[in-house]
Amino acid sequence: MTGWLHHLIVLPIVLPMVASAIMLLLSDRFRQGIALGTTALLVAIAAALLMQTMAAGEPWVGSYRLGNWAAPFGIVLVVDRLSAMMLMLTSVLGFTALLYALARWDRAGPRFHVLFLLLLMGLNGAFLTGDIFNLFVFFEIFLAASYGLVLHGSGQERVSAGFHYISINVATSLLFLIGVSMLYGVTGTLNMADLAVRIPNVPPEDVTLLESGASILGIAFLVKAGTWPLGLWLPRTYAAAAPPVAAMFAIMSKVGIYIILRLSMLLFGDEAGMAASFANDWLLIGGMATIAFGTVGILSANTLTGIAGHYILVSSGTLLAAIGTGSERVLAGALFYLVSSTLAISAFYLVVELVQRGSAGEEAVSEPVFEDEYVGAHAVEEDNEIGVAIPATLAIIGGGFAFCALLLSGLPPLSGFIAKFAIIDGLLAQRQTVAPQTWLLIFLILGAGFAALIATMRAGIDMIWTPEDVKTPALDIVEAVPIAILLTICLSLMLWAGPVMSFMEATVSNLDDRAVYSGAVLPEPPAESARP
């Protein structure tokens, strides 16, 4: 990469930052346009980066020095296939959730667009950064934005759930800091590539300290991912958040997963000496417990958002358990599952809002607390001039709901099935004889899909197919399009499952190749920087 193309890597961070800063200066009229334009551009940038990582046949890792300091001293951004894929996923979700919000939800409270773009900036930064302290900073950026977004629309439930959410995340950030500083205390570096080089050389007496530091760091990410028993906050918070916000939050639990995957492959892979794969068993056990808890939660949930929230737990648990197996084929399937389930959950949150709007009627969404507070223009039911109401609303919503239900439960022929099939296929191919815990994991994955099927079917019959006093909800084209986009992507994942799957396999083998990562980030063979 030469010339201006090189700066493409930093754009997913700079663009939303600049756009949100400009937005504060302009009047409200321009905000929708700027926000939508920015998210569309982000999709294009992420696509360009993804193309770039795919175009290079062999493992390719691009790095960008912020401030042009050499790697272990300055902060670098790193893009490889995994981070490009996560960027793509984030920007697609960002674009669709924002588009959906433009129909009405963005007027439920102040400064929605600014917070939304800052959330995207933090997420993109977390996926791109190659420095663990910088990762903390980006985590705080998207968390701060998410605090604002959880409260968007106000109301007692949101404020109460928001307070829990903020307290838990602030406490988690402190664990994050402890973990980072312990890693620094043992290795003397914060750069991920440099850490990968130095960890094999950690003296034996320090390995326990290193593992404790990494575990404390890992706990912080497990809280974000919603692992049992650390993720009990997740379903309630996501159910309380405004639907487009919840749809965007579907990616936030995956940030934790992404970091765990990245760090366990890069820092604690096979070459890490004494600390190699020390946490894999814990991830496997935690993942399986999370799936079990999520399954029970799905079956016992009495609201659709409750089902969606617990399904996020199931999906996190599946991914964690897959990381815990440490097998490349399982991981490739898990990445497919990550993309498919995140898109499906996001679409599900949006569809659920339409369904509930039809059955439950309007509830008072905004109540002012402070005297000078901007009271949401949520009563703008009639002046919806953005979209045209489209006919056959109920059929479309019902179809979308059924599509989501199939995706979530992993029934053939949709992408949810292919993803689960790939994971289970990898699990069975792992060894000659399949271990009992592998059978248990397979059983749990299939059981969770079955539970999702039962729960969505029960809810669907209650709310859509046996309409007693259902008033047909008003559906804007602006609201139908994002759902259609998300479901179309899932459909294309199914149609082009072969190429996508081989991309995932290449991504995983790329992750396994630590030398390429370190080589691209660190300026020269790091012999002189390695401490004995």
Partner: protein
């Protein structure tokens, strides 16, 4: 020096965790603030304890690394202070909103039945 720092971290963490588990919103916030002080001291200690050594080298003077303290933890602490300051301010606003909406300062928005 070590024992003073260790005691300070321990006492701050203990008080912070205790307050964090209390049922009043204000106690939770103060608990988080105390915990963040403890964590900041902990980060500082991870750069090895050193007194009377500057973290910044002077221009033009020959540099002997042994005469300086590690500057990275100090930079990290600075960042962490700023971030926890901002989140504490945000939490205070949420506290007020919660108090205004529910007329109670219980973290669940309602008094527990006992």
């Amino acid at each position: 020096m070590e024992i003073v720092l260790a005691l300070a971290i321990g006492i701050l963490t203990g008080s912070g965790v205790w307050l964090l588990l209390r049922p009043r919103t204000f106690q939770v916030i103060i608990g988080l603030a105390l915990l963040s002080y403890a964590v900041n001291l902990f980060i500082l200690s991870m750069g090895r304890l050193r007194v009377d050594a500057p973290p910044i080298i002077r221009k033009g003077v020959p540099v002997d690394p042994a005469a300086f303290v590690d500057p990275v933890p100090q930079a990290l602490v600075l960042t962490a202070i700023v971030i926890s300051f901002a989140t504490t301010a945000l939490m205070l606003v949420v506290l007020l909103a919660s108090r205004g909406l529910t007329n109670t300062d219980h973290v669940d928005g309602e008094e527990s039945q006992q």
